[in-house]
Subunit: 341 residues, 2 copies
């Protein structure tokens, strides 16, 4: 297998690694939305038989990992390398899950873009022959994230209408050679883009420029047009971020009306109540990508998807120090599993 | 170029990528120690013309990156991919440095083992042909880290004698093909090992088992003995951690008396005052490895070094929730620059 660099930010896999299996788990609000049938496990509450929300998030990670392994007929010892991250300081759920799995582990952080960072590195390891099986995983939990980044949900503090709701969800993808639900054909690694947004509730506006930058780079460097994809999916720009992204894409000469654009944060909470401008969180792109999208690629309903996870590199400390919130977006191009279909 | 997996955790490069250039910068205490001559830049104080210690840490990263680039005669736009991490929540110094460099960026977190995670991934990208130049970078600052993980240094709170002093330092390594200061011959990716240590000052004891596990795996999987290396270097076990590691290695059948073992945390602060059990922090292994060690490999004073960065995955939140402090250790085998010397 091999890897070809094309342009500044894009890599292409002439013999694409496969997502052998994916799994998605989520909390009650997500489980009550339109993607319910694409979630492998739905937790009936935000906490269950664990002592903390943090332990619940770790349990979601372990569940997603074990489901993906089971679907692929593999064991933890078959994981050559494990890439994972989450939103919590020191990515503790990922560290504790790695302790459980016992696999060689590289911890990652790209905020809500982490799922695609993990998938990209897993694909690089498979395509280079460095690994036979690599596991990519990301998670978030509304109660752990909101407490850390803004206010504990229990305070009931009012949020502006452009705020997003952190998804309680985890998604895992097992990457390897051979046939699978989808093939990883190319990836575009994001640059850090800073729109000088300083409001920690304004994630969509902070991330939209990074999304537009990565999508434009991907299309330009591969000589593609939006219509070469059935779907271009942002991670979690939310309602307001999507509106801004559309304008920014137009400025970069990308005709967003030429294909279908959608947002994981909007998809995951379609039909759910009280999520303001939509969903966010590492688990959002992970669960929608490795659940809903993967199934549609496997079934042939979708043939080519550009999955662009967006991350706002928000730090409460930096925010208190009046720093802006830079953002990043990593894109992975997926094709339906059977190249001869 | 190619990559061969050997055993569960180890990868070997038949055509080893090179560290084309390295750079190390540090604060005043580190600059007053025995490694002074191996630091490319020494800051005379813990803060300078910046508004916060966090901005100082970011400035150290940018300085180390620009020095490494200058030594290699390269520009930021020559960086195909940038791997970086630090100890701060949301790895903000790394994110802001990535914004400055404008390169495709993957953020990492392995606590104080981050420098070797970055170097490992950089080596994988070069060996697979995915990149021509990859930059690996890590940093820490005593004032940003102590405030976040324990108490602000300004409180002057008493620390136990087994506590370590977080290094104010950053190190950068530019990895590519061809001749350089050193070649990256192999790497062993760590598993998360939990010794059930819960004391946030007891980092050496928390990390020693991970160090022993990775060193034993490396030697076993490559059929090597300690004496195959001139030096086996731990990241920052400190005085007490080193003593524990010696006992643990003996239990695993590794004869630590057969070669020279040393610790970056002890080396960096040799001759410096008031560092208790030694140094720690992402910047410790980064500055010692990409400064002191790299120069000795380039000069031929050292021929083969196993550089094992150790990270305690300490989280204040997890610690308050009575969770233990798991640890990880990533090892990279380096050889002197000229294979025909």
């Amino acid at each position: 297998m091999s890897i070809e660099k094309q342009g500044r930010q894009t890599w292409v896999f002439p013999a694409p690694p496969a997502i052998l299996a994916g799994a998605a788990v989520a909390g009650p609000k997500e489980g009550g939305g339109a993607l319910r049938a694409d979630l492998d496990h739905i937790y009936p509450a935000l906490s269950w038989d664990k002592k903390s929300f943090e332990q619940c998030e770790q349990a979601m990670q372990e569940k997603a990992a074990s489901l993906a392994l089971a679907k692929a007929g593999l064991q933890p010892q078959d994981i050559d390398i494990f890439f994972a991250g989450d939103l919590l300081n020191q990515i503790t759920p990922s560290g504790f899950t790695a302790r459980q799995l016992g696999a060689p582990f590289f911890g990652l952080f790209s905020a809500c873009a982490t799922a695609m960072e993990a998938l990209s590195l897993a694909a690089l390891c498979i395509a280079s022959g460095a690994a036979r099986h690599a596991l990519a995983l990301a998670s978030s939990h509304t109660c752990t994230a909101e407490r850390q980044f803004r206010y504990p949900n229990e305070y009931g503090s009012q949020k502006p209408p452009y705020a997003q709701h952190t998804a309680t969800a985890a998604g895992a993808a097992l990457v390897g050679e051979g046939q699978g639900a989808a093939r990883i054909c190319a990836l575009t690694v994001g640059r850090v883009i800073d729109a000088q947004v300083c409001d920690p509730f304004q994630m969509g506006a902070a991330m939209a420029p990074a999304f537009a930058d990565t999508v434009a780079a991907h299309l330009r460097e591969l000589g593609l047009r939006p219509e070469n994809y059935d779907l271009i999916l942002s991670g979690d720009l939310g309602r307001d971020g999507c509106a801004i992204a559309g304008q920014l894409l137009a400025r970069q000469g990308v005709d967003a009306s030429a294909t279908h654009f959608a947002d994981c944060g909007l998809l995951l909470f379609q039909g759910a109540d009280e999520v303001l401008a939509g969903g966010s969180g590492c688990g959002c792109a992970a669960a929608v990508g490795f659940g809903h999208i993967l199934r549609r690629l496997a079934s042939g309903e979708l043939r080519r998807v550009l999955l662009c996870a967006t991350g706002a590199l928000l730090s409460p400390v930096a925010n208190q120090q009046k720093e802006s919130i830079p953002a990043i977006c990593h894109a992975v191009a997926l094709e339906g599993g059977n190249p001869h279909a």
